[in-house]
């Protein structure tokens, strides 16, 4: 595949992920007080787990500064600037590459600083921007760009496959009780959906098995025909949109959709041979 096409794939991936990260960063800024001394993510407590408290003062002091709420705010703003610039620039330019690095390190920082509260979308964003940081430097080669796309696509397939197998191992998923139970609470539920599911056990069963089968079979989309591949990607998009609407998992939508161009790229490579 021509380098220009590979660059275009990265552009799509980065743009979709960046939109999600812009929302995520503003969300972090809106709960910044949680990083205060008496907040949920207080460094005085988080540092106990990280082990910073046992470090020599010369090391732990800079860590205290790095973990301060002011630094968290500054890193959020730096990430927002990088996200804005990366949306305007083309991958494999110096500007885009430096922005990818800034975003990648800001994601590392967030995971390190929060310690708890990360989810699968954070993991996927780390994979995407770390891959961009490794593979899209100016002067990179076509084969490196290709390897990065393969890596993102395979991580996407692994994510669905592993999640599907884990669900298959759960008796509640197999019996169809899992989704009605997950949705019947304040953290991830909506009353209207639960009311419908309570009326029909069959619907719960069908939904649980639909999710299990979709997730386990997802890697097959790489080897299927064009229409089946598109159907998998479309189903995935609907799946994540539903999770966003019903469960409030808004960041998953952007992080996982961002990997789909890579999946489609690998499909094209496999079918070109």
């Amino acid at each position: 595949m021509a380098t220009a096409e590979l660059v275009q794939m990265y552009r799509l991936i980065i743009d979709i992920a960046a939109v999600g990260l812009v929302i995520d960063t503003f969300e972090t800024l809106s709960i910044l007080k949680a990083f205060n001394r008496d907040g949920l993510f207080s460094w005085q407590v988080v540092s106990l787990r990280i082990g910073a408290i046992s470090l020599a003062r010369t090391i732990s002091r800079p860590l205290d500064v790095l973990a301060a709420p002011g630094t968290v705010r500054a890193i959020c703003f730096a990430r927002l600037v990088a996200l804005g610039l990366i949306l305007l620039s083309s991958p494999t330019t110096w500007l885009s590459y430096l922005c990818a690095l800034v975003i990648c390190f800001s994601l590392f920082f967030s995971t390190w600083r929060r310690l708890l509260g990360d989810d699968g979308s954070d993991q996927m964003n780390v994979l995407i921007f770390a891959t961009a940081s490794i593979c899209t430097w100016p002067g990179t080669t076509g084969s490196v760009l290709e390897m990065g796309l393969w890596f993102i696509a395979l991580q996407c397939c692994l994510s669905y496959f592993a999640a599907g197998i884990a669900k298959l191992l759960g008796s509640q998923w197999r019996s169809g009780a899992a989704l009605p139970a997950i949705w019947d609470n304040y953290s991830y539920g909506i009353e209207a959906v639960v009311t419908v599911l309570k009326r029909s056990k069959l619907l719960g069963f069908v939904l649980c098995w639909s999710v299990i089968l979709f997730e386990i079979l997802f890697p097959l989309c790489l080897f299927s025909g064009f229409r089946v591949c598109l159907a998998f990607l479309f189903t995935g998009a609907v799946f994540h949109l539903s999770c966003a609407v019903i469960m409030g998992l808004n960041s998953f939508l952007w992080a996982f959709l961002a990997t789909y161009p890579a999946v489609f790229f690998v499909w094209r490579i496999i079918h070109a041979q």
């Binding site: 993510f41 708890l116 669905y160 884990a166 899992a178 953290s187 998992l249």
Partner: protein, 173 residues
């Protein structure tokens, strides 16, 4: 196919990373040696809501003890709830909910492992929740505070809440 040394190194790096990601899904005991170094979240684990999905809400309640030994009534810590359909686009509180849920899960894990109470009280999950509860609705007259974790099931909460855990009293000044 890799054409230069750089390409080769990057190919190896991404391959090793992907293989480690696969192994991480199984979390074999020997792999904890590698997992402990993954402070940046480089190794994903993709078992969303499985095999045993969480299906309850956690609530944190607390009471204060005063200098004369009397105690206040139990009060609930306000944990943000999801803002309906808005949360499908804007949901900052998911971090708070997830962090509390992670910490409570950590605490429950220690309970199921039947750890010593002293070990329990020094655990990260316990200190994380204690710090959070201690900062809520401060009462200058209170000498110490105790918290508890209660679990409810269902949006209609028709079942009796279950008490999961009760902490010690801790000085809050």
């Amino acid at each position: 196919m890799p054409t230069t040394f750089n390409d080769f190194v990057i190919g190896i790096l991404l391959s090793v990373w992907f293989v480690l990601s696969i192994v991480n899904q199984f979390s074999p005991r020997w792999f904890t040696f590698i997992q402990q170094f993954d402070r940046l979240g480089l190794l994903p684990i993709w078992t969303f809501f499985a095999p045993n999905p969480g299906q309850t809400d956690y609530h944190m309640i607390y009471r204060n003890m005063y200098a004369d030994g009397s105690c206040s009534e139990w009060a609930e810590v306000e944990i943000p709830t999801r803002n309906g359909l808005v949360a499908s686009v804007w949901n900052p509180d998911k971090r708070i909910l997830k962090a509390i849920s992670d910490a409570v899960s950590g605490l429950i894990q220690l309970m199921t492992e039947k750890r010593e109470r002293s070990e329990f009280l020094l655990s990260f999950s316990y200190l994380f929740l204690l710090n959070f509860v201690s900062a809520v609705n401060k009462d200058s007259d209170a000498a110490s505070r105790q918290f508890a974790i209660v679990e409810t099931r269902g949006l209609n909460r028709t079942e009796t809440p279950s008490l999961l855990f009760v902490s010690e009293f801790h000085a809050i000044h």
